[in-house]
Amino acid sequence: MLTIQDLHVFHGPIEAVHGISLNVERGKCISLLGPNGAGKTSTISAITGIARATGSMRFEEREISGDSVEARIASGIAVSPEGRRIFSNLTILENLTLGAALQKDQAEKGRDIDHWFSLFPILAERRDQAAGTLSGGEQQMLAIARALMARPKILLLDEPSLGLAPKIVRQIFDLIGTLKDRGMTILLVEQNATQALKLADYAYLMSSGRIVAHGTADELGKSDKLMAELTGVA
């Protein structure tokens, strides 16, 4: 569904990702692992078009690397970004409404909101509160729900467990599991390899802007490289 080939990503003059290739199949959960600064978030930014990049990106058999950010979102890519980036000055309901900004049908939009509220009861309870008042875990849920409001074909999740307590992390991963079971295509960027590999069908390991290993979750879980990269112990 999403095929990336020889992707280089730049931040100003600095090249953060040096030619990676990866493939996300429809209905699968693909995980992109690696330590801080490996280039995972840069890769996500390149897919959404925020970061400058060269190389080929094909989404549903169509080259998207020349498209604007807005066009890519419109074609069915949604992201829950690193650091969540919810609109803290807007209410929860308003955040979700904005998530469905491209949905013209008001009734459909309302149904979607009800639908996701049923999955996230905690958000439903506080629908008219400013999103900034939510806890970290709740904000993460809101960020995911906001992305889902767009009815994406592929969901990009960037470090959904970052900075959350272990109990909350489990909740978030349960939720991602639920989404996967419902057939959502997911590209999951994580540092928390143990949790991510439990969910992922296939995983890529990044380090210093390159993919250093890839395989099924089982293969990669047994690999020495994973431990070495994530802990720094060879």
Binding site: G83, R85, N89, L98, G99, R146
Partner: protein, 298 residues
Amino acid sequence: MEYVIQQVLNALSFGAEYALLALGLAIVFSIMGLVNFAHGEIIAVGGYTMVAFASLAIGNPVIVMGGAIIAAMLASLTLERVAFRPVRKADPTTGLLTAFGVSIVLQNVFLMFVSPRPIAVTSLYFLDWPIEIAGIRLASLQVFETLTTIVVIVALMLFLRRTVLGLAVRAASLDFEMVRLTGIKANRVFAMAFLISGLLAGLACIFIMARRGSVDPHLGFDPVLKAFVACVVGGFGSLPGAVLGGFLLGAVEVAMLVMLPQSLGGMTDAFVFMIVAMILIWRPDGILSPAIEKGDKL
């Protein structure tokens, strides 16, 4: 007592005008960090549009007022496209200086192609007549101005809360990139902010012209200077702050006019600015400033 009520009403109508202008500045600032000093020239565009109608012998007030508002909105939109798009991502100082440059260019365009001298516009005099309610004398214009501002604030609030584009404008003040990531076109958000800003300038233009009855290249400079100050006092980028700052400034100005002895009349502006400076020293980011983080965002 009547005197007090009269002065309060004066303060309200002064404040209403500043609030209208300050809102126009704040909505643009909130999404792109641009201090739009060329706002005053948008007002002047409205004024010169009235002159154009007058020279075509069109006196229909609906056409004159509507035309001025539409001209101001178009001018605002044009400035966004031509001058401010290249500095969209730049720091506030670059934007501020660009706006200064635009303001100077436009003032001199009026001076060169129209006239350096004031041109009388009489088509809006009908808006201003004296009225007396329960012994309180005031001008109809003041009432119109205050009411219009209230209507505008309510309408703006509805727009910002009830429409997707309105939500996007509010969200953009916090994180523009994330708004784009919801699929809303950045250019539409900018265009909408400048359109609203132009509309507010157009409305303010009607009241300024009705009161002054003439337009010159510097028509908008002084009012926008004050509105600028109102924005800062309220907290730059905050829309409620702009309204608050506008009315506060109106109150301070009327208080100065009332309290300063006649001999210090020429110093009103100096005192107003001094009080504003003191408010800023008390609260450096303005009274209702949105939270600003200096460090990196998580």
